[in-house]
Symmetry: C3
Subunit: 334 residues, 3 copies
């Protein structure tokens, strides 16, 4: 995409809203006001059901088409968007991008224009390159919505919302909580998006814990975030501890972290480590987990773990976001 | 999976039922009583339609989600489950396991827990490793059902049921029939499951015909099965002759069966060979066929062949099984 | 397939109709009368909607199953058929042929018989080999329809119909228009099918423009088509200019066209070139485009371009064809 488009993140945030301020695209948490986040969480909560209950179904997207464009492999996020759209009554188009026209040299935009001409209403986009979802949103017709389903190491807004919803369910609030995010912050779109969301919601403190080589680009995180290499310091008194996935192949190249055992010992979230946190602290992980590397396996299955709640809430959040943006499109064209 | 879980097939059979004896998972034919099989066949028959008739549709699975988890490639069984679930009104999630999180090192169980948290109600599982469907069934929530869609060389229960249904349609009964199964018995999950089912239904005789190198592990088959290397002996007077698929690459390594021609000559089910069977004998094959290897091509298309009926009945059986297990889940949680 | 079947294209044309003359398969434009084409276009037009309007939905295919069998990779045509079938209420089976039984050596016909036994009503077939769709149509049951979704370099009938519809929308008619088709005619199923359709509709002149090495087999095109290597000559006064996709790797091997720049200069459809066409001429392309090779990029996005209309009309045409053939099946079996 053009160089000129690469760094206009302020514009990305504005791009998300209709002239009357309704959410039309979801590209980034940036630019979402506290009340807008609360409204999305409230709407999401309506789609949450207890295990074994019949799923909430709606016809809010009947006659609408949702296209899942995953240019990076994904099982869970793709399945989550797929089921969310189907449970709202949409037709879903899952595009296998490996066997697609992109091979034949067609540009992303020409692919988008083509699908748009087939009356796709919502594009759900995951891409390894930063800027792609906003690039698409800038070029689609005024009748079309774009949702970011994971963008390089930059942004993953529905993940941030499902994390907030999960915290709120257990803690009753997000304000003033102490939250520690632990692991490979440098490469984590989850860490960036959830940090922005937590800051907007008035979190008490945000601690970013990682080995030096995986430390955050501080310009991409809230100003008052606490950056530390010391897990004991970061986890002390925390209400929420979020472990991040680390790619095994990265571990070998970390200064002072020569192997998996050393990584777990220094940065693994474990029962023992959780004793430093607040007494009723919860443990989160965006999945898929490397058990025994970034998180102790038995901790992931213990009562303080909300990892499966996160997954369940993911469907609810995506249903809420899909119905919100489609409503905005409809209002825009009344 | 843990070694301790690998051989508890008795438990697998029990695992399938709710405390009140309703079928909740379908993992193996073992443990199914004659009346339970008859009930499933009766229910399946209601879903069978004549060619060209509109398919039977139902809303028994409306609001339910069926996930097809095929860790081995499959066209026909996957399509059969897919269409069965859709015709019952379910949402279907087809997971392409090659591009899935399994690559990233996530365990099967974590994948299952994740999908379960997205309110998947039924997992349809095919796996090359023995024990995987039962392993999953042992760990899912009490609100979730697991169906075995083909497990290593061990079990393929819906195939057994569709074979029984097909025989019953042509012969009016299964009791006292003489059935010959011919070919690569050693590697066949079909042979194992259908043999168990035939024994439960009181078949007259069961003959297992194969070259020595592909002979059955007799402990996995009914005690009174007749094992022979002589096709003429095995087929004599048979009411039902079932040819099994053989992988071409196996043929070259068989003692006394150096090539395809020799295999067909010794173990191919042909018009000529069928003259030894009962006058109105039927020919079956689970597909996909190697025409001219395990079965004479023109025989497969002749009036005594019920091979396409087997496929049609496969959809009916899977609709019956899906609606049965979902009904059991509902009764369990009333 | 048998040699004897390879060249009976007259039969293919007849094969498409029921005894009472209704369209049952769509294999080729050949054999379609002018009134039949007009009727299909009229029906298609009913499914065309303005951008942002809710899609037209119908229950014409409720309870029907459409199987997309794409033996060549495709995004746009497959997505178009998929959405068309879903918007008519059908169940859709998308078969990933790479992971299919075809690997295991099953013949196409056995795969078809299997899917037919699962009550698939319509097969949508794309294949790199000529004759495959007709071969299938000759063997399916009398209750089943076959649609050609792209056949080698021979035939692509729904593309031809969507091109006619697009022309008719802009020009109000097709009769007496001057149409130039430019580029790799030799390898183009689009060029063949649309030329047949234009001839049937009474086009004013048809000009086929290509470098010598990519010139048409004139026996496959209407007798009075004008064949030329000179784009200026071919485009002069044309009402419609259709650029064809060229595979980049072909360019290097063309006499007198050593590179991409030379190709664009000699055969690229550009703003400058369009000045030779009729004043209100339109530009078409079947996609996906190589911008800057066979078509000037800015021309493709200019007001005279109807390229996105073609895509939109593709869905409408496929909905019309699907509902037409299913209606024919129903009438046949009343």
């Amino acid at each position: 995409m053009p160089e000129s488009e690469k760094n206009n993140t302020v514009d990305d945030a504005q791009l998300q809203f209709t002239p009357s301020g309704q959410l039309k695209h979801l590209l980034t948490i940036r630019g979402l006001a506290r009340e807008q986040i609360v409204e999305l969480l409230d709407r999401s909560q309506e789609f949450v059901i207890a295990e074994g209950e019949a799923v909430v179904r709606s016809t809010a997207l009947r006659g609408r088409t949702v296209a899942n464009l995953f240019f990076e492999p994904s099982t869970r996020t793709r399945a989550s968007f797929d089921l969310s759209a189907k449970r709202l009554g949409a037709d879903v188009l899952n595009l296998d991008v490996n066997t697609s026209s992109r091979k034949k040299g067609e540009s992303i935009l020409d692919m988008i224009y083509t699908l748009q001409a087939m009356q796709v209403d919502v594009f759900v986009v995951r891409d390894a390159e930063a800027g792609v979802p906003a690039h698409i949103a800038r070029h689609v017709s005024n009748f079309v919505s774009v949702l970011n389903a994971g963008e390089s190491h930059v942004s993953h807004p529905t993940q941030a919302l499902l994390d907030l919803l999960t915290i709120r369910q257990r803690k009753g609030k997000i304000e003033n909580l102490h939250v520690a995010i632990v692991g490979d912050i440098a490469h984590s779109r989850v860490a960036r998006s959830v940090s922005e969301a937590l800051a907007t919601m008035g979190v008490g403190s945000l601690r970013l814990v990682s080995p030096k080589a995986l430390a955050p680009d501080i310009h991409a995180f809230p100003e008052d975030a606490i950056v530390t290499e010391d897990l004991d310091e970061g986890i002390a008194g925390a209400d929420v501890v979020m472990a991040l996935r680390i790619q095994r192949e990265r571990i070998g190249s970390l200064d002072g972290v020569p192997g998996v055992d050393e990584y777990f010992s220094a940065y693994g979230v474990s029962h023992k480590r959780m004793q430093l946190a607040a007494p009723d602290a919860i443990v989160m992980h965006p999945g898929p987990m490397n058990r025994g590397i970034e998180i102790e396996s038995s901790l992931a299955d213990s009562p303080c773990s909300v990892i499966r709640d996160q997954v369940r809430n993911g469907v609810a959040v995506r249903m809420a976001v899909l119905s919100t943006v489609v409503k905005s499109l409809e209002d825009l064209h009344k």
